[in-house]
């Protein structure tokens, strides 16, 4: 077998990061004002954005032949 699904799955998950970012944005839109938590969420959001941008720098798609 020429692939390793486990390895593929443990790497950064773009979809999950985007979901997390949207969640953070929604949190900020809520009424409560908690600056300490806000700064924490902000840092987390910025880190996720960086990670997503890093992920977007990949230029190739990989093709693995199972059969044929």
């Amino acid at each position: 077998m020429t692939y390793n699904m486990k390895q593929e799955n443990t790497k950064f998950n773009f979809a999950r990061a985007m979901e997390e970012l949207e969640k953070i944005n929604r949190w900020f839109e809520s009424e409560e004002v908690d600056l300490e938590e806000g700064i924490k969420k902000f840092d987390q959001g910025m880190k996720l954005i960086d990670a997503c941008k890093e992920r977007l720098k990949q230029v190739e798609n990989k093709i693995i032949k199972i059969k044929g």
Partner: protein
């Protein structure tokens, strides 16, 4: 086998002999002999169906006819179900089968394979199958699952030499990268296609259940070329997949039953890639927007807090001023009552014991009284 050997010997050695030398056969032997002659290999016969009937829910009989002739056909219902072909009278079909003379003297074609021919028949067979699958809930919209927004691991099922493969990979690469495509090559037309496609679905579902999505695709072709995607085998494989499926068969206007069984239908292989992944530049733009929004949000939160503290400070000042004003007022009022202030103005206070004398009745002859002045006191005795 005995009979076969015997018949061969009969044909080769005795056929040319005189009638007198012919062996006398029993009826059973005759029928068996005829069968050895006619069941040598399968034949394909094309004709129109008439008298189609299902007996005891498991045996199927029909006649195949053309302008002049007619032949009876027989097969089991499970065979037809497995082929995923629905038949009815008037349909033009090709039957692959073995000629057979029954013991009771009835001659028929024992059907191995049935294939509708001509666009009318193919479409009719398709319609019948569609109705059957529809009743089984295979095309229900409620069971369609959403496709992942950013699939990273895709299972691709198509032919390796098809333009579909190239188109899909090209558009995918053009739009988004960092994706791993697991490619399982199958035949996309011909007799082998349905089983191969079904095997591919089994493989992915069993061996790689964590894939984000499966793509089943092929390019355009004639209705007959696309038949594999209308076969019950493939439709059921699509329907049964635990991994969500996007199906793209043929050109824009081609529709297959697999399309309807899939979670999402794409019009072409390129369209499948477009539906599956967003444009990378668009995502980058979105990310920037999200970043800007985050900064704005945090800034807003800080401003709200600043405003809150400012207003708190203002309110406290106001409260303090009020308090101070009140205090001053009280003080002034209090001061106005200060007895010292009265003495200041030249008044005096007369005290007997610890009481202020406000009435001459309070004192009598001989009492000691004290008179308080601005400065000092005078002690007196009442006479």
């Amino acid at each position: 086998m005995d009979l076969f050997d015997y018949s061969n010997a009969f044909v080769k050695e005795e056929a040319k002999n005189a009638f007198a030398t012919l062996k006398v056969l029993s009826v059973t032997e005759f029928n068996q002999y005829v069968n050895t002659l006619i069941t040598i290999q399968s034949v394909i016969v094309e004709g129109e169906i008439s008298g189609f009937k299902i007996a005891k829910e498991r045996l199927i009989y029909f006649d195949l006819k053309d302008d002049k002739s007619i032949v009876s056909c027989f097969l089991f219902k499970f065979q037809l179900d497995k082929m995923g072909v629905a038949l009815e009278d008037g349909m033009k079909i090709q039957v692959t089968g073995l000629p057979n003379l029954h013991q009771k003297g009835r001659f028929n074609l024992v059907v191995e394979l049935v294939k509708p021919v001509g666009e009318g028949s193919i479409k009719r067979a398709l319609e019948l199958l569609k109705q059957k699958l529809l009743k089984q809930g295979i095309f229900l919209l409620e069971r369609k699952r959403p496709l992942p927004r950013f699939p990273e691991n895709i299972g691709l099922i198509t032919s390796s030499d098809a333009a579909a493969y190239t188109d899909f990979i090209k558009v995918l690469q053009h739009r988004f990268s960092g994706i791993t495509v697991y490619f399982y090559a199958v035949s996309v037309q011909g007799e082998k296609a349905p089983n191969e496609i079904s095997e591919a679905f089994n493989y992915f579902n069993q061996k790689m259940p964590n894939l984000d999505v499966l793509v089943l695709t092929r390019g355009g072709g004639s209705l007959e070329d696309l038949m594999a995607f209308n076969s019950e085998t493939v439709v059921r494989a699509v329907f049964g997949s635990k991994i969500p499926v996007i199906c793209a068969v043929g050109h824009e206007r081609d529709e297959s039953l697999s399309d309807f069984a899939a979670d999402k239908r794409a019009s072409t292989p390129s369209n499948a890639a477009e539906i599956l992944v967003p444009e990378q530049s668009e995502v980058a733009w979105q990310l920037n927007k999200i970043g800007e929004r985050l900064i704005y949000q945090l800034d807003k939160k800080i401003k709200i807090l600043e405003h809150f503290y400012q207003s708190l400070e203002y309110k406290m000042n106001l409260w303090w001023q009020n308090l101070r004003q009140k205090l001053e007022l009280e003080e002034r009022l209090l001061k106005s009552f200060d007895p010292e202030a009265i003495l200041e103005r030249g008044y005096s206070i007369t005290i007997i014991g610890d009481k202020i004398v406000k009435n001459p009745m309070q004192v009598k002859k001989g009492d000691n009284i004290k008179t308080k002045l601005k400065k000092g006191e005078i002690e007196s005795i009442i006479i």
